[in-house]
């Protein structure tokens, strides 16, 4: 088995084009997924059953089904109701929906980590519930949820490969195309394997650095040991749910 460098040079640009589309898709999926996740987290934590019920149902359904079948279903359901969209857009929507479930769990842990008393104080000085969330909870939540959000983003990068099954020409699809033209699976898949690996390891690397920086800052805040432990546990549970 030998690496044919000619293929790497000739089809490298095609793979890189796929790489760019992967990045674009992931970017928009995050942009849509996080707000959706926050919305679901708030719904999930609501005391009103008509908010909580649907939120719980959606979370359970998405969490207990494979991403691939969600993608397929969305890809075929939308035209069924007369909505024709390019595969790339469907892909972004599917990724955003899928990841929002996990973002929701992360946000829930983040919101729960902000001491309850603060929300009550905010309500007591006349803020509405939404105002309390926006002005008091969210600013404190971001540094806490950043590491798990980045983790989830890594898994988003990996899941985006599945969009090749609905003809989105992202990185995996471009490797399949190169394989189809050259009949050389080795070169095609080695190229994208390395690109995915480098991309995700660099995300992981920056997360670890960020985590250290945030930990130092976090330790200066006045949180109790019990609070920290509870939060670490819930974030660990979220981390376990995805890969």
């Amino acid at each position: 088995m030998d690496l044919d460098i000619g293929i790497v040079i000739e089809y490298g640009p095609l793979i890189l084009k796929g790489f760019r589309l992967t990045l674009i898709i992931v970017f928009f999926a995050i942009l849509l997924g996080i707000p959706l996740g926050i919305l679901m987290a708030v719904g999930r934590m609501s005391s009103k059953p008509y908010f909580r019920g649907p939120a719980v149902a959606v979370l359970e359904i998405f969490r207990n089904t494979p991403f691939m079948i969600q993608v397929f279903l969305l890809y075929y359901v939308l035209p069924f109701y007369g909505l024709r969209m390019p595969a790339e857009v469907v892909g972004v929507l599917a990724l955003a929906l899928y990841s929002s479930v996990y973002y929701a769990e992360i946000m829930r842990a983040g919101i729960a980590a902000v001491p309850r008393g603060q929300v009550e104080s905010a309500r007591a000085i006349g803020m509405s519930h939404v105002q309390a969330l926006r002005n008091v909870v969210f600013p404190q939540m971001w540094p806490i949820v950043l590491p798990p959000v980045a983790n989830q983003t890594m898994s988003l990068v990996k899941e985006s490969s599945i969009l090749a099954t609905i003809t989105v020409s992202e990185m995996t699809m471009s490797a399949l195309i190169v394989q189809g033209i050259t009949f050389r699976p080795f070169e095609a898949f080695i190229m994208i394997t390395i690109l995915y690996w480098v991309l995700n390891e660099s995300i992981a690397f920056s997360v670890r650095r960020l985590e250290k920086r945030l930990q130092r800052r976090h330790s200066r805040q006045a949180t109790t040991k019990a609070q920290d432990a509870a939060m670490a546990e819930s974030l660990e549970a979220v981390r376990r749910m995805t890969r």
Binding site: M1, E60, I61, R63, N64, T65, P66, F67, M68, I69, Q70, F72, L73, Y76, V77, F80, M154, V157, K158, E159, S160, S161, I162, A164, T165, T172, A175, Q179, P185, F186, F189, I190, I192, T193, Y196, W197, L199, N200, E201, A204, R240, M241, R243
Partner: protein
Amino acid sequence: MKFDFSYTIDAFPWLLDGALITIQVAFLSFGLSLILATVLTVVRSLEIKPINAVIAVYISFIRSTPVLIQIFLAYYVLPVVGIDLQAFTAGILAVTLNSAAFTTEILRGGLAAVPRGQFEAAHSMGLKPSTIWLKVVLPQAYIASIPPLVNEFTLVVKTTPLLAMITVVELMRRAQQIFSANYHPVEVLIGAFTIYFFICFVVSRASVVLEHRFAVRRA
């Protein structure tokens, strides 16, 4: 077009047939992955530097590349090296190697839950290293990691539809075959979707039962 439920019902027996393969693949891969992960955990605890470095690279590789690519590597690239596997075997191999990396990390957590003193106590009682692992440490490590292990199993189930890409006829592939014949993808996919949900939901609830069953032994 109108949603016609009769297509779902017609497809259902065929889908269940595919679901059997899905369950078979999931159990085989997860069982093998559990064995491999246990071996890796024991080997890693010996702290032989070069071997641990290899394991670290393996885990990093698995964790930062998509499963789909790993499946393609097993099916398309291994034959280049002279290992020509059937789709089913290649699929099981890929899913096993993928899951084992995550299971190893889970077992590391479980191992941390076993107090160090127990190693020392077992050692001073004159137990052989193999006995210490099999009778003292591993059972406790497994019990401590039941919830993440069950969760890992549902993740394996959710990985199996990707094997449809390399022509393994499991639930997803079966669904694709049916709707490419009757042109009713939505109805057929809803059927498959429901089966997947049912499997994963039941398995994730099993975690509670298992924990309860083994909770006594921990005391």
